[in-house]
Symmetry: C2
Subunit: 370 residues, 2 copies
């Protein structure tokens, strides 16, 4: 598959990494390439990419960053741009992010700001990055007060998605990506959600056909939303379904709950909120929970911090400054609905949300409802 | 005068600071205003602005940064965005930079990146910022390897220029602004250059009519260039006249030579380079030197670092990565000329430049030539 989303060329093909030198020459010609990988991915994929580019006669250097969301900081960004400068990268250079979401966000933000902007190419190596983070041009790093609080919109020239790279990905990292795939089904495509529930096992077993279908459908859904609204003026906000509470869970637990698990729990919560306020069709949350469980994702809110703590964290999110906390709500499975005030996210009073979250914490495992 | 440049409203009027609350409400309505000033300007202008906004019923907080180019760092940016987050600034907030070029660049970059971009308003308090830095949307901070190596294009909603604020500006800071004004005359308007030479004394004495004319003409020239080429795809490069060597002088002297002095010496050098390679009409450099001397700006290259050192510094500039160092050259006074390769800046071999710079160092004061 080759598609375009917001001026980005998306190449999605099993084994496509082998074509990176020619694809770069065509879609992102540059005097030199700065390949950025984290300390886990650099030996597995980063260094081989540099060697592949060198073998094709292209100038490429490897820049290794520290792995993990706790290192997606302003300091890590500063270290990276200083390293790019020390290496002499020019405006005619190109950053190639090879890795997961953290690498893509950090390397993308470095590219967005270095010399006031150089080209960036995303080569996602995690399922999460393939179905979500590498698409749409959001880049950034975290602040003490919350995730992604500084950043830039900087669409990549090229996103190269090679599902073959997932062969080395551990199951919990696969589950992270599946959470976003479930979200895509929940907000836009019921048939896709059903397919995920039925095929999650094959995806987790790295079945090539299942992986290809999953990535293709998610890229189609996310790419469509992003192309219609590249800078989140409106519709793009629907991609935040599950993320208001999801981000709050991450922040309130100091990121000890991974992104996929947090979004999974966030979707459970926000579906319940939608049902509680009468916006979402009853039973929608149970369907989403079933798909999440098939993917091995958590749905049990009992081990989480107090609702008040989560709401406090939600309030520091950049989307919720200076007003009521807002939530993307579904009308029913596959269909989001605008708020009565015309926004894509609904303001819901904290006390209603607290009630729902307390309810989720009283459930002895959510299984009985499923 | 009210003008628009690259989606920016420019209000230029003696005493206009008094109208800031209404101008903000009209051109940059926001839930709250983050007023950023440096430690020198905060007590003189920053705090009064916050009080003026508060008196008009607007929510405003003061953020004080450390004064001076050595503090225009990635660390200072990180400290500022963390402070904005801690104060709870939302996407519906607006940054108001009250100060000189360093404040405008740093606060502008914070606004460009905070929550992936919030509105910014520039209230320049130095002549340099009024005639140059506040216009055109360039924001950024310095890296160890060079000035402004990271940043973003982020046009302000409003630039409020009140020449009355210059009453407190010391003479050397006035000279900094005059260097850019001379540049505007040199690249675009001979009559303006003549006027500067004749009226520099009145400007330095803060004569209101002279200040108003100076700021108005510079804003007209720079605003015109920036409006035609907001992201420096082409023509905007002419504003770099004097800046290739100027930035090199700043970097090679660890910024002990101020920006205005460095640009003054840079224009002397680049006019001489243009004459030496036969692109610039003979005598052009002498006319520029005469205007610079009238403004009290330095033209003597003898105290500067070795030419080789300057060229090495020039090579680390983001505009000169990966190729020959380039210079904006004049055809004659008031007229720039494109390079034979179609670029707005001319590649000149290092050995030719070194020869010219060595020549300037042999001159016992440049006065005899003037």
């Amino acid at each position: 598959m080759t598609a375009r989303a917001a001026n980005t060329e998306v190449v999605l093909r099993w084994g496509s990494l082998a074509d990176l030198p020619e694809l770069l020459a065509h879609h992102a010609p540059a005097a030199r390439y700065a390949v950025v990988s984290d300390s886990n991915v650099a030996p597995v994929h980063g260094q081989p990419v540099v060697e592949r580019l060198a073998a094709a006669g292209q100038h490429a250097d490897l820049f290794t960053i520290r792995a993990g969301e706790p290192h997606k900081t302003t300091a890590a960004w500063a270290t990276l741009v200083e390293a790019l400068a020390a290496e002499g990268l020019g405006r005619d250079g190109c950053v190639v992010a090879v890795g997961g979401g953290v690498t893509g966000d950090l390397a993308g933000f470095a590219a967005a700001t270095y010399a006031r902007g150089v080209a960036v190419v995303q080569v996602p190596t995690s399922l999460l990055a393939m179905v979500d983070a590498s698409l749409g041009g959001k880049t950034g790093v975290d602040l003490a007060a919350g995730k992604n609080l500084v950043g830039a919109f900087h669409p990549p020239r090229l996103v190269l998605i090679d599902p073959q790279l997932l062969g080395t990905l551990p199951p919990d990292a696969m589950a992270d990506g599946l959470a976003e795939a479930v979200k895509h089904g929940a907000i836009a495509d019921t048939a896709y959600l059903d397919w995920i529930e039925a095929n999650a096992e094959a995806v987790l077993a790295h079945d090539p056909a299942a992986l290809h279908r999953l990535v293709t459908d998610s890229v189609r859904i996310k790419g469509g939303v992003v192309e219609r609204d590249p800078e989140e003026a409106g519709e793009r906000a629907v991609l935040n379904f599950g993320h208001t509470i999801g981000h709050a869970i991450e922040a309130a637990t100091d990121y000890s709950v991974g992104h996929g698990s947090a979004v999974s729990l966030g979707m459970v919560a926000e579906a319940a909120i939608g049902e509680a306020v009468g916006v979402t069709e009853a039973g929608t949350g149970r369907r989403i929970q079933r798909a999440l469980r098939a993917c091995g994702l958590p749905i049990d809110h009992r081990p989480l911090p107090e609702p008040k703590t989560l709401l406090q964290a939600a309030r520091t999110d950049k989307k919720n400054r200076g007003g009521a906390v807002r939530y993307v709500l579904l009308a029913r499975l596959g269909v989001t609905v605008k708020s009565p005030d015309g926004g894509w996210a609904h303001p819901v009073p904290d006390d209603r949300v607290e009630e729902v979250l307390n309810g989720l914490r009283r459930v002895p495992g959510l299984a009985p409802h499923v």
